[in-house]
Amino acid sequence: VPDKLTELAADRGWQVHAYHIETLADAMAALRGKRDGDGRVPGIGEALGVAEAADDLAAAVERKLAAIARVTAARPRPRVLALISQQPLTAVGPGTFLHEILGLAGAENVMADAAAPYPSLTLEKVIALQPDVIIVLDMSDGLAEWAPPAQLASLNIPAAQSGRIARLSGQTIGLPSTTVVDTTLKLVSLLHPDLAKHAREAVESAHP
């Protein structure tokens, strides 16, 4: 938090809390609050005076995600390359909420061993990874016509040979928020279409 903002907040009596959110656990901690060193960072709910509702919301998100994970658990996991940018090719790596929800949706992230959360790739590296499925995460409005990127579709990889290069579109898919449940359901629809209905029902039944 910038010092000036802290000073201004102290003068005006505002509360300032900073949340670093990369993983699902970070997102839930932001809702509930957490211990940080000697002190405690209050959650968003607590800061807004709705701590109990925020706890319930976080618990509901966790229950729904767990329900989806149970549905997909028994299925073989396709090796998935998820891209957040095609120019340059930039993938979802470990230590991110997108990596986690790929796992919950029944995928094995081919970039799980990468050293960076969002590493960039060459096409040669994509060939070396041999993904079964490529998912292009499109965080624009998604209204434009879409076709599998030509440079990926022509590679000697299982994803291109089986035509499993797909786009997941929506402005909220990049948000580590309560919207992760919807994003995970969309991933299940892409990766295990026959489980999509089952996963939606599991989510509804997990609702209190």
Binding site: Q87, A116, I127, A128, D141
Partner: protein, 334 residues
Amino acid sequence: MTTPEPAHTHRPLFERRDLALMVVLSVLLGVGAMARLWLGPVGVSLDLQVLGLRAHRLAISLIAGGGLAVAGVLLQALLRNPLASPYIIGVSSGAALGVVMGLAGWLTFLGAAGEPLAALVAALATLIIIYGLSQKRGWIDPLGLLLVGVIVNAINGAIIMFIHYLDPLGMGVDLNRWMLGYIDEGLSRWVVIGVGATTLGGIGLATWLGRSIDVATFSDAEAHSLGLHLPRLRLGLFGVAGLLTAGAVLLVGPIGFVGLICPHLVRLIIGPRHTPLILGSALCGAALLVWADVIIDLADVGQGQMPVGIVMALVGGPVFLWMLHSQLGRGGAP
């Protein structure tokens, strides 16, 4: 006052030293090209497709490196300023502005030609603005030109960021990484072939005009007295410099130092005659970018593919400082 050397003497186009340097640069380029074709990530077997991908990257490096280096030679000669380069005076950011307008979807009415055309027009417009603002009655103030270039560069950068600000998610490109300069493997081979042919043509034309460019580096009066039509030459070569820069930016984004370092390195060794200087710089630029791409593959720091612009700045910046330092106090440019 010294008498300038006549434009058309019987001096050979290439001296032994020129040819020796070109052989050395060709060997460096050849070894770099071989390294580029044979080296790659662990776990990839070298089949025809992989070789094709590496050849595609190699072609992009060759074309962009050669084009930027020659654009640097032309700008330094035409603007009579040793610090002029496409990157420093804002021609690269002008071309980048054109490309970004295309990436933002503003030029769809132009079809596939939108980005290349916009890159060229914006690069040329930038050159015209810089030239127009930094000259008075045909005389260019070298320091004024640099300052105008730096300001125009900043304005181009601001417009690019404004376009990104308007639609940060809709560009289909990681603009921050693109602006650092990287070899775009996703470019269609026809774009690469088209830019390659244009670059080759531009370098050929510049080489053919090498002796006229030698004369253009004298004062306007001297150049006129030697029968040179300066306005026509400047117009033509500005066009070529804009074309080469736009092509390079289309392929690798706005990378710096190639157009600054290579002409100076080659000039240090073979002197200022433009015919060998242009060819030597083209080879030097191509070799520099090819080796930068090899380094990117070898220097994996765990963050994925490093933008080539970072390598160029890390290598090119210190080399230029060294050259600048070695020339300080001699009353001349590097």
